[in-house]
Subunit: 232 residues, 2 copies
DNA sequence: GCTATGGATTAGGTTGACCTAATTTGATTG
DNA sequence: CAATCAAATTAGGTCAACCTAATCCATAGC
């Protein structure tokens, strides 16, 4: 009996597991309505599906108190996440996709590719650790790095930061980020942060030393590493 | 309004269309039971599905007399065939799959890839005309070459033939063909054909001039071009 | 021209995954 | 501590795609 040899899960099941995994990462536990919102499905449908999934042992459902993945559910979720991120990386590196167009394609393919194909792609890519949006790729064995990143809104004024991760959810947003020069790996100094959820001003460390103003909402979605403090 | 922009068809619908296309190519018209056999689905289920598909205009159903694709149905079927064959070619050329293992993978992926991805793969491959089993790949516009090939069982004794196409259906069979040295492009002389659906003996034109005996059933599935007549 | 036979269809049922409308529950708050 | 409200669940229904069992129909053979 091999490791990854459980029966294939339905497309829908995989979508639920992945969504729940991602909600849990933020909220600790996944509320029915968060799942419903993430998947754009009516709440009662989620209740029903959650019941089925907990009967098959993929998650634990405490009525009126949300849902948690079981060990087996988490393993399956991470398999889907791995597939998704390897696919995004492959499409970007090998087939010329831009970072704003891979998500949709990977969203469909993640339910159709075999583990074998994923591993072949991973191998062809040299077993990458991050996808094109900077998200860590879980290993085949289901281990995932927890990146320690600060949202741009938390980077202190005066320090130099590097952009390490962005959300892949909204293609529009990704195109906008590109247009600002905010690609993975760019470094900038945080010049100013307006209070009351106001915008953040950054100046790139590269040649034209351009400044950009980033709105608060957007800035919260940018995962950064602080490289150095300017003054002390 | 773009060319290939109809709404996505369900996985099931695509499977039916492709199967019907392939049965039509052989039988002229597709009987309910042939479809049922090809898809491993009970006959009454096929009747039901066929009714739905003819309501959406993808095929014409004359009760008790089988089914034919409409123009729109044929177009969709050819799109699926193109996806399948491009995928098989890509997996073989770029990801190290063997010709016996691509079919299953492509069978799932053909329902998930976008036209855009297919065209990117086709481009990366240099717009191939044949898949790894020698089957012609329909163009983006839905044009497909009708290969004029003779089954090995029809190649006259004494002539030199080249293997051009094999069925991708049975992985076992493909592995067996490889083991006999029967890969696409090999040339051989037909040495003998036993009567009463008996085996065919061939001798390769290459270095060790090996002989192989091929059973009748298998020989019917090998598409050949006759290169030259030996005597006259 | 009638009847046997097998292929096709109708009848009726299941399952997964969704929906809306109505009701219940847990948590908050005056 | 009762009233309230939003969140969650139950109730009841739809739809696609399958199933088995029973019936129907075209044709081939006599």
């Amino acid at each position: 009996m091999e490791v990854g040899s459980e029966d294939r899960l339905s497309r829908s099941t995989e979508d639920y597991l992945k969504a729940i995994y991602e909600i849990e990462a933020v909220d600790g536990t996944a509320a029915t309505s968060s799942i419903a919102e993430a998947l754009a499905i009516a709440k009662p449908s989620v209740t029903g599906m959650v019941k089925r999934l907990s009967e098959t042992g993929l998650l634990e459902h405490t009525p009126y108190h949300g849902v948690q993945l079981t060990t087996s559910g988490r393993r399956s979720a991470l398999r889907v996440v791995r597939r998704h991120r390897i696919l995004e990386t492959y499409l970007t590196s090998k087939l010329g996709y831009d970072w704003d167009s891979v998500h949709e394609e990977a969203e469909r393919l993640e339910h159709a590719v075999s583990d074998e194909l994923v591993e072949r792609m991973a191998l062809a890519l040299g077993n990458p650790r991050y996808d094109p949006h900077g998200a860590p790729i879980p290993s085949k064995e289901g281990v995932i790095e927890e990146p320690v990143l600060a949202p741009l809104t938390d980077v202190p004024v005066g320090s130099i930061a590097e952009l390490r991760m962005v959300s892949d959810r909204d293609a529009e947003r990704l195109r906008y980020l590109s247009s600002l020069g905010l690609r993975l790996g760019v470094r900038f100094e945080v010049i100013a942060r307006q209070p009351f959820r106001g915008p953040v001003t950054v100046r790139f460390t590269g040649r034209p030393f351009r400044e950009q103003i980033v709105g608060y909402e957007l800035a919260t979605t940018l995962g950064c590493v602080v490289r150095e403090q300017e003054v002390g």
